[in-house]
């Protein structure tokens, strides 16, 4: 942590970057810090409580500016950054990624390949909460699943915090705001909510890196992160990719293989 502060102060004072995006202590848990001068670098922290996915800010030009900037990133954020690289949303020349490895050493990355090599050693696993809920859902009949999700969805009031928290929801105009035609009604109603979440899951196929930010952001605690997570787990073996390790060429849905499954096609 000390090394991180020193390095951040150095980068800022030398003008290598104009911003270090990191974490500081909050009232209950760490919160994002937009550190624009070396004095503030003293506030930077980096530990296991720092789970807020800062990758969500790095596609927003109004926040990060046009200059080069640095971002401190735990594994889940690194995965998001990789996916953003794949989707042509980042410029290697303008981004410096900082992380602290298992030995407490500061690591710096500038390219997709460097991050990929580092991330490859971490396997993406279900946590206790995910395991418990997903096995419950997996054990349900179809009708029970429908009831379960409709019950959950009936509480959703479409605040779109899930969308705002997701680093991969960077569209300038979201499909729910498209009104010619109005594919998905923007107001909260069970079906409109359901459609939004099915749509979100489809848009995340092959892209979601299971950072869990959407679920954390939900003010009423709908486990929506499990939808995209389960999709990732199911589709990875189907389409031949490793969960949490975005491949450089092509998204799972925009590519295909001759021997993709088709037993369901009559």
């Amino acid at each position: 942590m000390k090394k991180l502060r020193e390095r951040a102060a150095e980068l800022l004072s030398q003008g290598v970057v104009s911003l270090v995006l990191g974490y500081e202590e909050g009232t209950k848990r760490p919160r994002p810090l937009f550190c624009r001068n070396s004095v503030n670098a003293e506030k930077l922290i980096f530990d296991s409580r720092c789970i807020h996915n800062l990758a969500v800010y790095i596609t927003k030009k109004e926040l990060v500016g046009k200059e080069r900037f640095a971002v401190t990133a735990p594994i889940s954020t690194l995965r998001s950054i990789m996916q953003l690289f794949v989707e042509n949303q980042l410029n290697e020349e303008k981004l410096l990624v900082l992380t602290v490895d298992l030995n407490g050493e500061l690591r710096e990355f500038t390219t997709f390949d460097e991050i990929a090599a580092y991330v490859a050693q971490f396997e993406l696993k279900r946590g206790e909460r995910e395991q418990e809920l997903l096995s419950k859902i997996e054990g349900m009949t179809r009708e029970e699943r429908w009831k379960f999700w409709m019950e959950e969805m009936s509480h959703c009031f479409k605040c779109y915090a899930c969308r705002s928290a997701c680093p991969l929801c960077y569209c300038s105009k979201c499909v729910v705001e498209v009104n010619r035609p109005q594919w998905i009604n923007p107001w909260p109603a069970p079906l409109a909510n359901m459609e939004w979440h099915i749509n979100r899951a489809m848009h995340m196929v092959g892209r979601c890196t299971a950072c869990g930010a959407c679920g954390d952001a939900c003010p009423i605690g709908i486990p929506i992160d499990l939808i995209t997570r389960k999709m990732m787990e199911d589709m990875a073996p189907e389409f031949g990719y490793i969960p949490g390790q975005p491949a450089k060429q092509g998204n799972a849905l925009s590519t295909w293989k001759l021997d993709d499954r088709e037993q369901f096609i009559r």
Binding site: I137, M140, R142, E143, E144, R145, W146, K147, F148, W149, M150, E151, S154, V175, W183, I184, A189, P190, L191, M194, E195, H197, I198, N199, A201, M202, V205, G206, I227, K230, M231, D234, M235, E238, F239, A252, L253, S254, T255, W256, K257, L258, D260, R261, E262, F264, I265, R266
Partner: protein
């Protein structure tokens, strides 16, 4: 969900222009008969078929959906059907996770030469959906704003 003989399922078919639409034309040219329940919407390619359209169909009261295009390797646009196939694999998986009844979506490959296959596909799908009954579970939710709402039962 007992099968109801009075129940006439509403089925909408999303088909590609080059294979299945032409195949359905051949069904007509060959004067093969099939059920009137299915109405065809023409697309240039199965690759064009948006999953949201399938969702909207159920929301608007469809009891079943047919999605059909060219056989693998026969796509007029080389690979639209391969992209579609992937999309459907993922879509089925999402729907199943959410508890949507994926038996109501029938995917098929019907070529321009398979007029009789199209007739069989329609008749079999109509029979299957008739056996499943109306998709009230979904339609009830769709009517939420106009009627009393989802929670009446719960």
């Amino acid at each position: 969900m007992s099968s109801n003989t009075d129940f006439e399922p509403k089925i909408i078919a999303f088909v590609c222009n080059w294979c299945t639409y032409a195949g359905a034309d051949l069904t007509g040219t060959s004067r093969l008969k099939y059920a009137t329940n299915v109405k065809i919407v023409r697309f240039p390619c199965t690759g064009r078929i948006d999953f949201l359209l399938l969702l909207k169909s159920f929301a608007q009261g469809a009891d079943g959906v047919i999605v059909s295009g060219c056989h693998p390797n026969d796509c007029h646009y080389t690979s639209g059907n391969f992209h579609a196939r992937r999309r459907w694999i993922a879509f089925r998986s999402v729907l199943d996770l959410m508890g949507v009844d994926i038996r109501r979506i029938q995917y098929s490959w019907v070529s321009a030469a398979e007029g009789s296959k199209w007739a069989d596909l329609v008749n079999n799908t109509v029979a299957d959906i008739r056996a499943l009954g109306p998709y009230a579970e979904y339609q009830k939710v769709a009517d939420y704003l106009e009627k009393e709402g989802y929670n009446e039962e719960a």
